[in-house]
Amino acid sequence: MSLKNRRNLWHTATWRLGLLPSVVFAAGTGLSLLLAFTLVNSMVRSRTETWLRGESALLAELVEDSLDQPGGLAFIRTQASHALTEIDEEKLGTGGDEAAADTTAFFLLTDAGGGEKLWIGPAGKGPFLRALDRPEIRSGAPFVFRVSGWSNRFRAIRHLLPGGGSVTLGVWDLEAMALNRRLAWLFVWTWLGLFILGSTMSWLLARSILRGVERIAVAAESIDSQQLDVRVPVPRGRNEIAFLAMTFNRMLDRIEASVHQIRVMTDALAHDLRSPVTAIRGHLELAATQPDSHSRKEAVAVALDGLDKLLRILDTNLDIAEAEGGALRLNLQDLDLSILAGEMISFYMPVIEEKGLSLFLVQAPAVRLRADADLLRRALANLLDNAVRHLPAGCRVEVQVKQTPGGILLTISDDGPGFPDSLQDHAFDRFARGQSSEGSGLGLALVRAVIRAHGGEATLGRSVLGGAMICLDLPRAATA
């Protein structure tokens, strides 16, 4: 997927990362606002009802005491009007056209037959009286009812009088409704504001984090085999993106190193093949033009030797590649490394002696391990080849085989000139060789590949004899 495609908003991680917290946040604030709204709503209602209860009980008592006395009705009217004014004053400015009316509360006194005795309230009492003519209304319990011509419900309480008749006190519920509406608006706006703020912030945050990822992607896009030196900018701080960038850069380091190694190797291989091929070609050309049959044979023979050498280089390279690539199937068998080393040394003894070297084998008895005998022989042969090739006459070589807590250790050390400094760090790399070396630079690389294929490791050591030392650590049973 190209970067462009990923820009499709819906599919961006930024969008999703921003969206999810926003949704959760919105749901959370919405729920708590709803809760607050319900709470306030019920508080307002209970406040109204408390007032109604108290006032109506008071008025009922008043009616009972003074109705039968002279001027009682006028006294009741004054008291009730007073109470209604009080409530009207309290809900100042509760909007709506109806608020223009003198009052939105009412007081009704009826006689035993249900007929109106006293009405104080909004003009046009007819609809009220019709709505309130309901004998099933319980005494002392708040109830709500609608009046035609009024947009909102009324809330009221009725008290039945002991001597028949009833007192009803009610208020228009507009006040509570308006409060509710106002609250609802407030809450919706708050919720919207919070939602926009929250989602913007989480989106910005997600984007600032993911921009780091995008930068890595852009850098990755610009990397190809020709340009491996590109590195991703590492953001400040120690967050996951910085960690990702660092990991990514380390991976690039490794890839660059191995590509570099491959280049060095192909160059070296091409170089190594050129000279023997040139020599072989020369000798064969010589043979073709040589009149004398003996010199012709000689030239062909030299060419054949050259070809053998060439083949050895190719084969060894393939073997190392196989071993390093883990494609080597080990033919494991139980063997005694002391015996195997002894055999290889006696095989090499004539060359070692001819070269004027002395070799000592220091071995523990019965150093048993499970390994591939052919490959170990080959590794040992390469080490001995190296000794024969590079040591000046008179040098002393010591091969030691011993058990260690972790497995088996084979060392070969000498009192020769040792490895040149330039080789110290990469003696086991392919095509690593000293300036004056005529070797292929593959011997130690194969040794390491073989030892590693067995789950061991080959390292350079510090020889007590003063020269070079190579240590082969092997596990008792190959882990391959």
Partner: protein
């Protein structure tokens, strides 16, 4: 001896035709397995040399078809595939021997001989004495003498001499010597074999004009009567 060769590379076909004809074999070269199959089923050949990488029918298929038809003619596989797995597979699927390219002619000839020997009538009782000119080897007593001089040989030198004697008059490559005498299947970077041969030669051919061990430069060694 008639040999059926299945090899798609004309250069190798040509080279083998010349080399094997010179050795006295009659060679029928084929470029594909399809072409070779009827010839193989006619059972007119003593040995098949089969390349594994063929266009069309694969070398292994060819061998399996032959074996499926009850043909028991020995098969020498030639292949550029050199991994142990492929070698094992080649041998398991009916091949009798396996030689990787590139190979030394001497080695191919040696392997052909040994395959033909195995396929032919059983050899007479392996002799306990080998005589080449005035060189005598007593295999039971592990003793070798040249004329009346007893040779002082190490056990490996004895084995090397025995191998050369058994293959007298034939060129033996270093690879074959390494494999047969030391059980080593790689080519050391130093001339270890040459030094061993040199040592053996100073013991065998010392103080005599009649040299037995000869170097064939570029090919290997041969032990032959002077």
């Amino acid at each position: 001896m008639r040999i059926l060769l299945v090899e798609d590379d004309p250069a190798i076909r040509d080279f083998l035709r010349r080399a094997l004809t010179e050795e006295g074999y009659t060679l029928t070269p084929c470029g594909t397995a399809e072409e070779a199959l009827p010839l193989a089923l006619a059972q007119e050949h003593d040995i098949f040399i089969v390349d594994l990488n063929l266009a069309g029918m694969d070398g292994l298929d060819f061998i399996q078809r032959c074996r499926g038809q009850g043909i028991t003619t020995p098969v020498l596989i030639l292949s550029a595939r050199r991994s142990v797995d492929e070698r094992v597979q080649g041998l398991e699927e009916g091949g009798d021997d396996y030689l990787t390219k590139p190979f030394a002619l001497a080695e191919l000839l040696a392997r052909l001989r040994s395959l033909l020997r195995r396929a032919g009538p059983p050899e007479q009782e392996a002799s306990t004495r080998i005589v080449v000119a005035d060189l005598e080897m007593d295999l039971l007593r592990r003793e070798a003498r040249r004329g009346d001089r007893i040779l002082d040989l190490t056990s490996r030198e004895f084995a090397l001499l025995e191998y050369l004697c058994r293959n007298r008059n034939r060129v033996i490559s270093r690879t074959m010597i390494l494999d047969q005498v030391w059980d080593i299947r790689f080519d050391p970077a130093t001339n270890v074999v040459d030094v061993h041969i040199h040592r053996l030669r100073t013991k065998v051919d010392k103080d005599t004009e009649r040299k037995l061990i000869h170097t064939m430069r570029g090919a290997g060694y041969v032990l032959k009567e002077p």
